[in-house]
């Protein structure tokens, strides 16, 4: 690691914002699981760092009304057993190894915004909000907007907001190894039995997670919403439509060292069908919690 580094270690969010205002664009350091390897390989120069670890308020996670709020410094381990957010918990459990889950954070995943990031894919399916805070206060962006625009150099991600689940959710991935590696393809499925719709996002296949809108509409129209069951032929068609959405996505990934593109779209369809089998098996409303 070359270059002279400085590190500031604010103890509160307001101190962090002042520190960032004094050196905009400084590297925010959360768990370091992405940043430290990047500094080591020289992919990023070592400069000013602001460590967020001491800011206790950023680690909080909670539920209020219809919303779940997750602080930016919550780790995957903090989320892996969270019963209020089963899809988020499944996603957290699929990331890395225990050592990575103990340190990697939500804010770090959004800061890196890797097209293969597991958390990002789930957040897209959950239609999450991202709260960013800077000198003029905080603002909330939809996850799509955040991925397009990111945050300003004097801002940091402070929280993620999710609607309280109104039905089953799952996250499935295929990687070189099941965990401990970024996905070749992944599928997040969120069922909303109250509004009678599903949202499905596919990760690892393009520069951003891909929403399969036509496939989602197909489920909304063909599911039996009194039971939450999807007939088998509709589930099959859902998989096909998801694979199609991947093939036609803008900046879809080509063949690479991980997989040929054709494998990715095929795998996305298979994962989507499996996800539907899990979430739309007709669990007699047991999972359909009203908000």
């Amino acid at each position: 690691m070359t270059g002279v580094a400085t590190m500031r270690r604010p103890r509160s969010l307001s101190e962090a914002i002042d520190t960032l205002a004094a050196s905009p664009g400084a590297d925010l350091l959360a768990g370091g699981t992405d940043l430290v390897p990047a500094l080591r390989t020289g992919a990023r120069p070592v400069r000013e760092m602001i460590s967020l670890r001491r800011i206790v308020e950023l680690r909080a996670r909670g539920a209020a009304g219809d919303w779940l709020t997750i602080g930016a410094c919550a780790t995957y381990a903090d989320l892996a057993g969270w019963s209020l957010a089963p899809g988020l918990a499944a996603t957290a459990r699929s990331v890395g190894s225990p050592q990575i889950r103990n340190t990697g954070t939500v804010g770090g995943a959004l800061g890196t915004a890797s097209p293969r990031g597991d958390l990002l894919t789930f957040l897209v399916a959950a239609d999450a909000g991202v709260v960013v805070t800077g000198p003029v206060g905080q603002r909330q962006l939809g996850i799509g907007r955040f991925l397009a625009d990111r945050h300003g150099p004097d801002e940091l991600v402070t929280a993620v907001k999710l609607a309280r689940p109104c039905g089953p959710q799952t996250y499935l991935k295929i990687g070189a190894r099941q965990t401990a590696s970024i996905p070749v393809a992944s599928c997040a499925l969120v069922v909303d039995r109250v509004r009678r719709l599903v949202r499905c996002a596919i990760g690892g296949v393009a520069s951003r997670p891909v929403r399969a809108l036509a496939a989602e509409d197909h489920v909304a129209e063909t599911a039996d919403w009194s039971t939450g069951a999807l007939p088998p032929d509709a589930a099959h068609r859902f998989g096909e439509l998801v694979a199609e959405a991947v093939t036609t996505a803008p900046d879809v990934a080509g063949d690479d060292v991980y997989a040929p593109a054709a494998y990715r779209s095929h795998a996305a369809g298979v994962l989507a069908r499996r996800a539907a089998a899990r979430c739309l098996a007709g669990a007699r409303g047991a999972d359909a919690r009203r908000p």
Partner: protein, 159 residues
Amino acid sequence: MTEIAIKITVNGRPQEAVVEPRLTLADFLRENCRLTGTHLACEHGVCGACTVLVDGAAVRSCLMFAVQAADREVTTVEGIAAPDGTLSPVQAAFRDCHGLQCGFCTPGFIMSLTALLRDNPDPTDEDIRVGLSGNLCRCTGYQGILAAARQAAPGPAEA
């Protein structure tokens, strides 16, 4: 001056130092504390050889800066045997079950497994495999490690 004064409790002993922010916890343990039981292989977070416990949680010491461990408790492989040198149950099981050959990966496995069995005293084989998925071994083929984990597991908690 960009150096930072830190105090870290390592294996129960307070260690004070003035360090550069870019010094990793692994280098701090090996160079400043002369605790060379923590091994470094990939230095990319992949292999797990450098696993230590920070406030009880297994982490990669190659991915953490020493300053981030300031005011926290770090346990390394040197810190888990009894003061008289009696091996911990996990260490003893690795010896009994041929859980090591060259031994390079062993400190990382011992620390990961120590944390795993503390949180889950009666793991299934699947729990063990998943729990150790972040540690790589080039020698043993993992079967001895699995056997060691089974032997070291305290078993179901008494009701």
